[in-house]
């Protein structure tokens, strides 16, 4: 059986992040803790962020889910680490637009995240890809409030 269309979804860089996730684990002290799940399918992410002086110093994730959700979490932590909060939120917006098939800021260097573009062709899987980003947004906003 040929699965050419599947290759749009499961690019090798995605499977690489799935099998060898970056920033897996939890940051111990003084971190922002966010638990988020996808109630329809059972995907679960526990994200910890360390934000100091408006900069995301560290980001780690733990959780369970499909290749798309876990790879996306791995890529997200990689992308936001070292960035200032505004840039991180901007990336999240760009990513969300990309998933929804909207026009997005292509000048931004998305790195590995670009590989997830194919997910937008699989409506049922978009939520998998955006879970980690939503958790990041929530964490950042909660910290801003406190």
């Amino acid at each position: 059986m040929s699965f050419n269309n599947l290759d749009q979804l499961y690019r090798s860089v995605i499977m690489d992040h799935y099998k060898t996730p970056r920033n897996k684990g939890t940051i111990e002290n003084d971190s922002i803790n966010i638990e988020m799940n996808n109630p329809t399918c059972g995907d679960r992410i526990h994200l910890t962020l360390q934000v100091e002086g408006g900069i995301v110093k560290d980001a780690k994730f733990d959780g369970e889910g499909c290749s798309i959700s876990m790879a996306s979490a791995s890529m997200m932590t990689q992308a936001v680490k070292g960035k200032n909060v505004e840039t991180a939120l901007g990336l999240s917006k760009t990513f969300s637009d990309m998933m929804l098939g909207k026009e997005y800021d292509e000048s931004e260097d998305l790195g590995d995240i670009e590989a997830l573009q194919g997910v937008s062709q699989f409506p049922a899987r978009i939520k998998c890809a955006t879970l980690a980003w939503k958790a990041m947004e929530k964490g950042v906003h909660e910290q801003e409030k406190s």
């Binding site: 059986m1 699965f3 599947l6 090798s12 499977m15 099998k19 399918c41 059972g42 889910g65």
Partner: protein, 409 residues
């Protein structure tokens, strides 16, 4: 007789998905609808549509006859003693909520127990959680055996004289297990409790006889048994229903309305506030005709055969784990599984690319997923329109999925 011809009554199955003929293996979520049901809905709206129980005009009479005619079909289908015991509601969830909110609130008090099992669908957990919280009652879970069945010893251990309600799924939507609800009802009654049966996965597949089961309440949904969505049934014993208060108030369910007080219609209408689900009931009646034409015993036999064939073929795939009873005779046509190292969502996406529809996720049974120690599973469920060739396609698809994820990456 279950034959290939049955498939031809389901127009939706005659299409390609992602370039392959559709193989629909998600009937436990919702079944497909035969032309007979689709036409019954269409004809109702084309020729008979009107409100029920009030029109003097001809259409009003026709609609009422069709609606009440459907109730008679349901009564015979589940062998209730009378149509007064058949309440049309939105579905299984609404039916169980009605029992919890009406019977439960009136009969469950502080320190009383409500007993359910680890294999319940959320629709048979949360109404009881809410009731227990509200009344200060204790919600207890019956443990499962290792193979995903229920033993009567565990049932006896869980039910005590403080138990007011026992509620159990007849056929598990995840494990496919068929539970001994008749025996459990007897144990419940011996302890003075009522027995509620979640029949959502049973009504489509087995001959239901509520009198023989001697359950007090039985809930099921039309859409899982080739009927339309939005129609379901609560069966209740008349003596209990007579004592129960409605939970929805308004038009259709009243007898006399005063300024500060009102009285209710007799059974079953006192529980059917508002304009009822007329077309849905008509569609459910047509669905029952369709299933009766095939024969429920034939359907049950077919399900066991499908489960047996699927389990045999699927267990030939290396690294594939099947959950629930190993003996196909103990389960309905539901096979829940995981493929080693491939997440069920990924399995479902690959199968979808081959035109095969399966469910992936927690199947609205999070406590059961916890018991199974998994976060998600994939599920193939079979119905009258499936045959062995569908399972062969599934097995082929699973092998491809395994190959795709193991070899390509």
């Amino acid at each position: 007789m279950i034959s290939k011809e049955i498939k031809s009554y389901f127009p939706i199955l005659n299409q390609e998905i992602n370039g392959n003929p559709l193989i629909y293996l998600d009937s436990a979520a919702t079944s497909q609808k035969p032309v007979q049901v689709i036409e019954a809905l269409e004809n109702y709206y084309k020729f008979d549509n009107s409100n029920v129980h009030r029109g003097v005009h001809t259409l009003g009479n026709r609609a009422t006859e069709k609606y009440e005619g459907a109730r008679e079909k349901v009564q015979k289908f589940i062998n209730a003693s009378s149509t007064e015991e058949v309440i049309f509601l939105r579905g299984t969830t609404t039916a169980i909520n009605l029992v919890a909110q009406s019977y439960g609130r009136a009969n469950v008090n502080e320190g009383d127990e409500i007993v359910i099992t680890y294999m319940e669908h959320h629709s048979n957990i949360i109404p009881w959680q809410q009731l227990a919280k509200e009344r200060g009652a204790i919600l207890k879970y019956i443990e499962l055996e290792e193979d995903g069945t229920i033993s009567l010893e565990q049932v006896k251990a869980a039910i005590t004289e403080r138990t007011k309600i026992v509620s159990m799924v007849y056929v598990s939507n995840v494990l496919g297990t068929m539970n001994p609800v008749k025996e459990v009802a007897r144990i419940a009654h011996d302890n003075g409790a009522v027995m509620v049966v979640d029949g959502a996965q049973a009504a489509p597949h087995l001959k239901i006889d509520v009198q023989q089961l001697d359950c007090d309440f039985f809930a099921f949904s039309g859409h899982k048994m080739v009927g339309p969505t939005g129609i379901g049934v609560l069966y209740g014993k008349k003596a209990l229903l007579d004592e129960m208060e409605p939970v929805e108030f308004g038009g259709e369910m009243i007898d006399f309305v005063g300024l500060y007080d009102s009285t209710w219609k007799e059974l079953p209408w006192k529980f059917e506030g508002g304009t009822p689900i007329i077309a849905g009931a008509v569609g459910l009646g047509a669905a029952i005709d369709f299933l009766n034409e095939i024969g429920l015993n034939e359907i049950e036999k077919h399900e066991h055969e499908m489960a047996a064939y699927a389990m045999e073929k699927m267990s030939g795939i290396d690294g594939l784990e099947i959950y629930g009873p190993k003996d196909p005779a103990k389960r309905a046509g539901i096979v829940t599984f995981n493929l080693n190292d491939v997440h069920p969502h990924d399995v479902a996406t690959v199968l979808d690319m081959s035109g095969i529809a399966v469910r992936a996720g927690h199947h609205c049974a999070q406590p059961l997923m916890k018991w199974l120690q998994v976060t998600a599973t994939a599920r193939a469920s079979f119905y009258v329109y499936n045959d062995e060739s569908d399972i062969d396609r599934l097995v082929e698809g699973l092998r491809s999925a395994k190959e795709y994820f193991n070899d390509v990456f």
